[in-house]
Symmetry: T
């Protein structure tokens, strides 16, 4: 099983900035622990601050990966184009957020990508990625989860 | 570890109605499979169509359960009072939805309870409950998840 | 033919309060006259001020009654959960209002249940119930009315 | 008893177009059946696609007819002037809609004429006209209905 | 000096209906008194309930009349097309209203024609027409009023 | 003089939770002090988390109590039905809030019950109840207060 | 007949600034011409940039003047308090504007005082004051104008 | 191939008024040039200022014409009824505008007819009609264009 | 104990105007009765129609008075500056209204000062001032009321 | 004549995804047919998923190309910066859309670029590009189209 | 060079209140330091809590001062009249704010005066005044700044 | 002292396009003059039309530069991601605009970055950059400016 994690703008700073909101671990450390927890899954990772490159990687993942875990960060709330990319590809995309976006500013309550995603997981810190992996693994085992 | 699942209005009809949206399993069958998957967790269940009884059970769970998994269904979008109950108790509450609420009518995109919850999981069918259990179990192991 | 009339909050006060808006007859008197007008229809009646009990009775009517006449009163404008209940059951539900809700405060112009109902009748006093009965009777005779 | 039915724009196409929404009967056939059902009522009919002609006929009906059954169709949602005409005349006007307007596009949920009408009947197919006739007949018999 | 008064929908009922709002005089009586007050002005009059006929008469007045006094009634609040007609012609148009539209329903506070008119006079009963005549007469005398 | 205090959802937790917002006294202790302050008033108390039971008690208080002091808590902002109940009964109802609702989230600035109440008192902690009692007592003495 | 003209903020600059919008005459010159046109009317004048002083003069005019002509300028769009003052006094107040406020920025389309005034005249340059005088004179002669 | 061009309100003034916005050619001249450019197409033309007559012609074109080119002008932004007429007929309708409506007032950015049309062409002057003809011609040749 | 009552615009007319809304007592009479009821409190009074003078007096009261009772009248709904003044001073300010502002026009439901005040009392006629005094007196006795 | 076609995000997938909305041809095939139809026009093509690269190419086209045909796809609805780029360059830009954007989700009805473009063509499938080419060709021939 | 600084409501309390937001210096101390920094500029100062007096001083500065530095404080967000005064005078006005208004409550994000000012400087503490002085000085030297 | 100026989309065209809005100097010329004015400051410059590259440079500036002067141009109004980047870094960012954005289209009045910046300077032409440099220089001297 091959999964691609795509992180959007400013998530390359994870662990360095605003640790009270985003935790003290870098995403590389998170990734290591995710791989240790799910050793059977090949877990690739891409981060970009550029909206269009995120679209590029969503498109290229189609037919190669079994699932995408996407934290679009600030683009979640403004990008019709990423939402269109998710709708255009066949690979299931799970939207994750580290913080509870619904407990923050009102403009973070609007998402242009949720409606196109297979599901949304928000507020569990780095654990949001783990739950998304769990979801994709269970789905491949045909347990609990809807087929689409 | 003791977890309480609270289901809101019309979820007692699960499996009988609108199976294309909510699946064909009754929640009792879902519950059985959840218990089989997490045998070490004592999993209690409460369903009500009455907003105030849901509040009663959130209040009474405080100090007894290690976590609540709440699918408030239609009350998600209209109940300030359930949101206040979650804010009032110490037990962590995870909001779950079977369907992807963001892909449905606009009034389902508004939640009065998300901001008070530890996290939100939406769109994974019955699997949303499983992921919430996974989150609570991992949290108790102090792995991945924020302490609050 | 079996029809269930469900009345929502404060309609138990009918005839006692605000007669200039709601008339001077109690609903029991209205019921008596409805039964006299449609002697062949078995007409049951339920009133509650509790939103969840209204949902309970809509659910329980499914498979038993040929139609529900629902005056959800104040819950009309705020209850997503009652709207979901109507969508979940197979029995046709007709929304009625005694007063002309569109000639009253703006918040009464919004309905969370109309879209799920077979039809809406508003502003005919107690006659709104009579017209709903007429509609259900005609429907069963396959005359004039759409099959759904 | 003399009743005038006024149909607004595009209702002259009834039965020919979009039968899944509006049924397969022409309004002339509907009219015939309504007359057969209420043989004691003299039922006149006017249709126009021109807003101002609908106003003309509402005005001219005053003092001649005992009631108007008005399906203003698309003008329902945009015509302050038809609403003003209804308010200006003494004859009671009942608003009818063939389809359930509340289950369609949001701009169809707004009515500029409901507040001026004696009542509203929506969603019963051609049966909406029948129920309006029933209402006017019962009203003249002083049964069930408010005097105004 | 030649002036055309154009009255919109339902103003043909003036004096007959809602006298507490619109007074007890018919517009013919008003017209007679206006002519008596301004004997040197040739005063023509047109009323229609049809939006497009009002546009026709505004267009045809161009080059013939020295001014139009327009009470567009209900079309004031909904007609972009009448506003466009006023902008298209060279003859100055004065908007009048019998009642104080700002003291009535909120939808009457919006005008699609005011911005195109030379000026607006509202709330003086039949006197609003008189003031508009006074304005056009004074304007022709080059006193007090802006040249445009 | 007989007064009924009705407390809405989550106020049964008073003194136990969020003391920085709601104080450290339980409502039973508050009640004791209110009775000590106004020994001549018979003070009854009802609390429920269920919207419909609050409606039931407002209705049943009619004709028995001289006044109701209502803290509808979360239902203040969402319940048309409680507002309708207050409008339906003859007993004067005073709306109270412990915290200053206007200094909290925007959704707490909207009230569906204020317009139906005799008056509103907000932000004085448990003292809001005391002021409401003072108001009802003074009113019965015909001093300072409007008769309605 | 005694009339008070009250001009609001920045109207003391009339004739000096933005002549393309407001003309080249000072208000003193306008006043002179108004007095010459209506020699039988005693015309007093007050201008202030201070909202509260405008309220003071509206209050003090009550019982002394037969009418107030008020150009509240920028306060038109923001002052509930001036609107309340007009509602509080018995003297009729006519709202005037030199420019066509409806052809300017959207915030100038909102008036907090129109609903309380006897009528509104807008867009006739200095002629708006003349028309208001004409209205008050005609009113005193009981011609054309509503009694209130 | 038979095409009907329908022009809405005030377009009969084309070439005479506001030439900086709408050009200096009358529509008759435009028509002549369109016929010269597409000699094989029979091009009929109808203009009306009356909303309902536009609806009449859309309805009557059904089954006779291969396409309608509609410039609804001011009715574009206000007419639900014209939108309903387009939806009701089988003939493809192309919406055209002479000016770029998106560069004008905000109320011109809203269209009640675009969603029902086969396509929209805006801002090319009289060329918008030419492009619509080109589109209908190409469509009949089954090139480039979607079948619907 | 020294308390300052500040009344905003038009409250100097109390008792003279709109007695059905505001009662027939002048505020001087109200003041006399308040002093008789609370003889131990030194009660000063200031009224102004000028927003800035109200700000001046709020500022000057700081360090001198134990509390301010403020009825800002029309400025309640429009004055950010008075709200800022309340936030800037240390003296507790209680907002009072004679009428039930929530039962009046929508623009009176918005307050720019409530969030900065210690509490709000609305709808008790002149009794609103009495309750505010009671609140300040009780507060000084450290009973019932929050310390802030 | 040299024309640049710029396609925005996800249009590189044309023909592969959602063929019911966007057709089954790749854009390369479309391009080939466009070149065959207009052999005298040199037609260049650029596609990018990156907003800023689209801006780069609009800027660089200035002074080189005779026109740009721009399908900004998802960026149409969110990009002020692309709109600014179009306003900044001298080359005319025609906005095209394959699908009828007005018949899709409400957020697709808003365009940040239409107001800056020479014209808009929407809903003709790949034919929208052909019509834009036709427009640019006719424009260069000085026929039918406005000079700007 | 002569510059007038105008401070609006509550800025007379600077240094005494809310020092965490506004600093600990009084404006007199700020003024002294500004004069020391720009010894060649004659710097006058006016503060008022009264909106109309601020208008008075803006008007009177015209023709006397080379620039106005205006901190309208709370009136920034509510005063159309101050905005009109700035538009009416020839002297350039620079808007300053001590705090970052965009990081505070939403009602502080709206300004009725920014559009009329030469520029806006916000968030630099007392330094905002210094930057405005620098801007006016540089402008007089014809460097960097636009002529208007 | 090291300062980085970052310019957003289309600012590379400065001096070439729309000189009436943005002046006739290229930014390179502006830069030269800024360096001449502040010879002791090392001034680096970056421009990009790509949102993500602006984020990259804000992130990389952290720990290297003493301040960023950011003119995000069109991204100001749409980019949550740039706002998040500013919040994530420790270096103070000053927002500048060449034109007065508040005097332009309404969508330019909204900023997603102002709240995260140390301050905002708008409307001084190229002088806005100079004032930002002055602010950063003064700040380093601990004069006038808040420490944060």
């Amino acid at each position: 099983m091959q999964i691609l994690i795509i992180n959007g703008p400013n998530l390359n700073l994870l662990g360095k900035r605003e640790p009270e909101t985003y935790g003290r671990e870098s995403f590389e450390e998170v990734l290591e622990r995710l791989r240790a927890t799910y050793p059977s899954i090949q877990l690739d990772y891409f981060q970009s601050n550029i909206e269009g490159e995120i679209i590029n990687h969503i498109q290229q993942a189609d037919g190669i990966y079994d699932g995408i875990i996407l934290n679009a960060a600030g683009y979640t709330h403004t990008s019709v184009a990423i939402g269109d990319a998710i709708a255009a590809v066949g690979v299931p995309v799970i939207e994750v957020h580290i913080s509870n976006v619904y407990a923050r500013e009102p403009f973070r309550h609007i998402s242009h990508i949720s409606a196109q995603c297979a599901g949304t997981i928000s507020g569990f810190g780095a654990g949001s990625y783990l739950l998304a992996l769990e979801a994709l693994k269970r789905k491949s085992e045909n347990l609990f989860f809807p087929s689409k």
